[in-house]
Each structure stands twice: as C-alpha cells, then as structure tokens.
Amino acid sequence: MTGPDYLAALLLLAGALFFLAGTLGLLRFPDVYTRLHALTKADNVGLGLIVLGLSLQSGSWLVAGKLILIWLLVLLAGASVSHLIARGARLRGIPEWRR
Amino acid sequence: MSAAGFYALAGVALVVLGLYGLAVQAHLLRKLLAVNILGSGVFLVLVGLGGPADAGPDPVPHAMVITGIVVAVSATALGLVLMLKLTTTSGRPTLEDDAPREGPEA
C-alpha cells in the first residue's frame, strides 16, 4: 500500500465510523427529531467520506464525478425527506423530548 | 458451499415462508406481501442454481427474473386495486371464508 492508499483507507474507516454513529443515534436518541439529526450524519458525512476515499482509489475523474453525483443525490433526498418528516411530525403533534 | 448455494437455499426458505403466509394470513394486503416474497424466493432459486460457474453467470435466468420482477409489480398493483374494490364492496379486506362468520346469533 502506498500513501494515497493509506489516506483512502483512513477516509473509508472514518466514513464507517459515521455510519456507526448514525445507527447508534437512531437506536439511542429519545425522539424522532433527534433521530433525524443522527440519520443525516450518516447521509452527509458518512457517505461523503466513503465517496471521497473511493474517488481517491478509483483513479479516474469520470468515476469520481459519478461518485460525487451519487452523493449529491443522496444528500438531496436525505435533506428533503428529513424536512418532510420533521414537518409532518410537528403538524401531527408528535412531542419533543424534554429532559 | 458456494455463495450461490446460500442464496438458493434462502430462496427455498422464502418460498416456504411465502406459501405459509399465503395460506394462513387472512388480510389480503398481507397475502400480497406473501406472494411477493414467494416470488422473490423463486427468483433466488432460479438465479442461484444458474449462479456464477466457471463460465460466468447464466444470462437466461437473469433475463427471466427481470421480466418476473416487472410482472410481479404490475400484478401487485392490480391485486391492490382488487383488494380496495373488495373492501369498498364488502367492508372487509379479507376473503369471505377467512373472516369469522357473523351469523344472526352473533
């Protein structure tokens, strides 16, 4: 393994860590709003880091561009869905967690 | 066992689960889920048995499964329309025989 390989591996591992954090948040956070917060960490940062690591490994600008397009699409879907669900939850009076 | 073997056996399990669900579930939406799972099991067996050999995967079951997936979704859509129509007419999303009888004594 060479230098870029180590960097890519590091990015992939960091991405995996964010997926773990997202899942843990989904399991441990107390209400739907905080869980949304955890979910978007996996969408934005977790997938982002993995896409970055894989782009380094792919060795082709075309593939890297496609990977980034996929990431942007997931971001768009994740952000919109999070908004729609949070708004829906408020309209339906799902209570927020209070300590 | 090869990877394809795992999936073919999982397919058998899905066929059995689907048949079971189809037989014992009263709710028609659940029956539709069961049919879909049954179909997925059949697809897995088909592709698993033609699975990656030395000559590569067999494209014929792949083609059959692709048509199968599209037919399954259109059949599901039709099934859902039928279910809704039946529910509007009879007030229950179940077939007559599955529902508890509501005789005059009830």
């Binding site: 393994m1 390989d5 591996a9 992939l12 591992l13 991405g15 995996a16 997926f19 773990l20 997202g22 899942t23 989904l26 399991l27 739907v32 869980r35 949304l36 979910l39 996996a42 969408d43 977790g46 997938l47 993995i50 896409v51 894989l54 490994q57 792919s58 593939v63 496609k66 990977l67 397009l69 996929i70 990431w71 699409l73 997931v74 768009l76 879907a77 994740g78 919109s80 869905v81 729609l84 669900i85 829906g88 939850a89 309209l91 339906r92 009076g93 799902i94 | -």
Partner: protein
C-alpha cells in the same frame, strides 16, 4: 485492499441489521420510515464499496438508481400513508 473493502461491507451490513431494531420498535411510524431511509443510504455505500472491490462498474449504476429513488418510499409515506392532520387537505 480487497479485504478492507469486504470488511467494510460486512460492517455496513451489520449496521443495517442493527438499524432494523428501530423498524421493529417504532414507536411512531415516522421512526420506522427513518430507519428505512438510513438503509437506503447504507445500501448505496455498500454498492459503491463493492463496485470498487470487484471492479464492477455497473454496481455504481445500481447505486445511482438507489440514490435517485431514495426519496420515493418516504415521500409516499409522508404524502399518503401518514394519517393527515385535519386541516391539511382543506387548503387550496
């Protein structure tokens, strides 16, 4: 490197399995749908990693389709399957 990719795939799959607990537990329908949303993202990550591991470019197309349709089920949920609050559909 291939081992790293496969280990990563396995790890992401285990993540997905853990997320299933939220689908089963709920408590609200929104929680279950959220978990399904996370599964979609995880599947995209798995597909991209597997594409790199096996050198199969077509898997990136599968990931692309997943990314494109990630919102469909959730939008169907928000717009249809979630019981509407009373005033919502009376607006023009």
């Amino acid at each position: 490197m291939p081992d790293l990719y496969h280990a990563l795939t396995l790890f992401l799959l285990l993540n997905l399995g853990a997320g299933l607990w939220r689908v089963v537990r709920g408590p609200t329908a929104a929680d279950r749908m959220l978990a399904a949303q996370l599964f979609g993202t995880t599947a995209v990550a798995i597909l991209l990693v597997l594409a790199q591991a096996g050198g199969v470019a077509a898997l990136r197309d599968v990931a692309l389709v997943f990314a494109l349709l990630a919102a469909v089920a959730a939008v169907a949920f928000v717009r249809r399957a979630w019981p509407q609050p009373e005033d919502e559909h009376d607006r023009p």
